[in-house]
Symmetry: none
C-alpha cells in the first residue's frame, strides 16, 4: 500500500511525517493544506501524491503510523504482569509524560484525531478507534485484580470513576502546558499531584 513511501530515505520519511502530523494537528483534516506540508517537508507537490494517492491516504497513513509507534512504546513500557489498578495507572501516567516530552507534535496529532469530524475521514477513523479500543485499550484499562476492592461497591463503576479522573487530570495538565513552555513544567510536581489523586481514589475504593 504505502511501499513507495516506505522505501525512500528514512530522513525524508521523517521530514514528511513531521510536516504532515504538525499541519494536521494544528488545522484538522479539512483545513490542513497539502501545499503547506510539501513546503515544510521540502518536496514537490507531485511527490506527495505519488506516495499517498490523495490527502486522505496521507492522513490515514500518518494516523496508523503514529498509532503503531505509540502502541509499541506502550507494550514495551508497561509491566503486564502487574494487576494492581493503581500501580498500572502510575505506570501509564509516567509513560504518557515521557511521550509528551519526546514527541509533543505527534501526541497532539493523535489526540486531535479523536475529535476529527471531517466527513472525509470520519468513518475510517471511527473504525480504527473501535479496533484500538477493543484491543490495546481494553488490555490497558481492564484485567485488574478485583479482590482488593471493597466488597459492597460496583467495581466496574469504580474503575470508570478512576479512568475519568485520570483523563480529567491529564487534560488539566495539558491545558497548563499550552500556556507554559515544556521546560517550565516540573514533572516531579505533576507526578506527585497525580499520586495524591490516585491515593484518594484508592482510599475510597480499596479495602
Amino acid at each position: 500500500m504505502y511501499s513507495k513511501f516506505l522505501n525512500v530515505d528514512p530522513e525524508k520519511q521523517e521530514r514528511i511525517i513531521n510536516a504532515a502530523s504538525k499541519e494536521f494537528a494544528q488545522k484538522g483534516y479539512d483545513n490542513a493544506s497539502t501545499n503547506e506540508i510539501v513546503k515544510e517537508a521540502g518536496i514537490s507537490k507531485g511527490l506527495l501524491f505519488h506516495y499517498f494517492k490523495n490527502k486522505k491516504g496521507l492522513y490515514l497513513f500518518i494516523f496508523d503510523y503514529l498509532q503503531e509507534m505509540f502502541r509499541e512504546k506502550i507494550y514495551e513500557n508497561i509491566n503486564w504482569n502487574e494487576k494492581d489498578l493503581f500501580i498500572r495507572y502510575r505506570e501509564i501516567g509516567l509513560l504518557k509524560f515521557e511521550l509528551i516530552k519526546s514527541y509533543p507534535e505527534t501526541v497532539n496529532f493523535i489526540k486531535v484525531a479523536y475529535l476529527e469530524d471531517s466527513n472525509e475521514v470520519k468513518s475510517d477513523l471511527e473504525q480504527r478507534q473501535n479496533i484500538l479500543i477493543a484491543t490495546a485499550y481494553q488490555k490497558l484499562f481492564s484485567d485488574f485484580d478485583h479482590s482488593k476492592f471493597k466488597e459492597n461497591i460496583d467495581i466496574n463503576k469504580a474503575i470508570q470513576i478512576i479512568f475519568w479522573s485520570m483523563e480529567g487530570f491529564a487534560n488539566q495538565q495539558q491545558e497548563k502546558l499550552k500556556a507554559l513552555s515544556m521546560d517550565q513544567v516540573n514533572p516531579e510536581e505533576t507526578l506527585v499531584e497525580m499520586e495524591s489523586y490516585l491515593d484518594m481514589l484508592k482510599e475510597a475504593f480499596y479495602k
Copy 2:
C-alpha cells in the same frame, strides 16, 4: 457593535442565528460556508457582512448569543441556595438533559466551539472561555457546603474528582446518543445511572 443586527425584525434575526449556528456546528468555523448560511437564512450575501463585518464577527456573535442564552437558562433553573454538592449535580444533570432535548442544534454548537481549533478564532474563544470559567462556571461548581466532607481528605481534590466523573459520564452518554436517535434514549435510565455514580462518590467523600 452588533446594533445593526439587533435592530432588525426579530424573526429575521432568528432565521440568521439558526442558519449560522447549524452550519458552524456541523462543519466547524473554517469549513462553514457563508454562502450556505445566507441561502438557508434567505438573505443576501452583502447583508450578512453588513451586519457582522466578517465571518469571524458572525461566529463570535453567535457564540456570545447562545452562551448568554444558556447562562440565563442556568440561572433560572438552579437553586442557588442549595449548597449540597450532590444535590447541585443532580440539578445540573437534569437541566443538561432538558437543554439537549429542547435545543439540540445550539447545544451542539457550544459543545463544538470548545474544541474549535481554527487559528482565526482560537484566541478569541479561549479568552471567552476563561472569562466563563472564572464566573458562571465557578459559581456552578463551587461554593459548596464543605462541612459534610470527611475530615481527613483534601476537599478541593474530591470536588475535582466528582467534576471529572460527571464530565466523563456526560461524554459517555453523548457518545451513546450519536448512535441512537433522541427518541430511543430513556431519560429515566440515564438519570438513575448518574445517581448511582453520585452515590458512590458520596459514600467515598462524605462523612
Copy 3:
C-alpha cells in the same frame, strides 16, 4: 437556471459565449481550459463559476444556446410549404453557407460537439441530439412529396442516398475551407457544384 448569466450586459455575454465556444471547438470538452476562456473573455475566474456552476454547465449552456440560435435561423429561412426534396436541399445548402460565413466559430462548435466523447458530457449530449433529431432534423429532411419519385424504387433509400451525398459534399467543402481563407472561396462556384450533384440525383430518382 442560467438567469444570472442572462441578466448581464449583452456585450459581456457575447464575449463569454465567443470565448467559450472557440475554446471548446478547438480543444474538445476535456482539454478546453476554463483559464483560457476567462482570459479571452476578460472576466475573473470566480465569475464564470458564479454564472455556470461548473465547466459542464458552461458547456451545455453554450451548446443549447447555439443550437437554439441555429434552429431559429433555420425556421425563419426555410420555406416549409415547399415539399419538393431538391428545392429543399438547395435552400438548406444556401442557408448552411450563409451560417458558416456569418458564424464560423459557432458552426464549428456544434459540428465538433457531435463527435464529443468525453464521459463527462456524453450522455447529456446524446440526449439533446436525440431530441433534436426527433424534431427539427426530422422535419427538415423528411415530409417530402413522394409522388415525384420513380415508381419502381425504394423511396426511403433514395432519400438516404441524397442525404449522404449532401453531407459528403458539405464535408468536402469544409475540408477545402480549412486550407483556404474564407475570402478565397467563391460561393457561386460551390453552389453551382452542389446543384450539379442534385441534378444528377434528381435525374436518377425522379420520374
Copy 4:
C-alpha cells in the same frame, strides 16, 4: 527512428501496441494517460520514453503501425484486376466487416484518429492522411472501368456519390453497433442492405 522499440521481444512490442492503441482510442490523444499505458503494458514509465521519446512519438508510431497493418490486409484481400466499381465496393464492404470483427480496438483507433483534433498531433496526422489519400485510397476508390457508365453523366461525380453513400452507410451501421454488441449484429443482413443500396446506384449510373 523506432529501432530501439523494434528490437525488443515481439511479445512485449505487442503488449505495448495493444495497451497504447486501446488507451488512445478510448480517450483521444490529450486525455490518454501514459501512466495507464505503462500499467496495462506492464513496463516502466522510463522505458516507454526510452523507446518513443515522448507521447507524440508513441502516438504517431502506433498510427503508422496500424495503418500499415491495414494497408497490407487490404492489398492482400482486394482483387486488383477487377475494375468494376460495384464489385470492388462489395469487396471493400466485406473486408471492412471482417476487420472490425477481428481487430475492433485497432479499427477504432484508426477511425478516431481521423477526428483527432489535439493541436499537438493535428498537423502530423493531416500530413499522413494526405499521403494516404494520394496513394492507397486513390487506388482503392478509383481506376474503375468507365465504359459501363451511362454516357451523358459526369462519371467522376457519380463515383463521388457512390463513395459518399457507402461512407454514410458504414457510419450508420457503426452507430447501430454502438448500441448493440457485436454478437447481436447479423452480418448477412447488413451486407444485403448494402447491396440494395449498391443496386440502386448501379441502376442510376450504369448503362
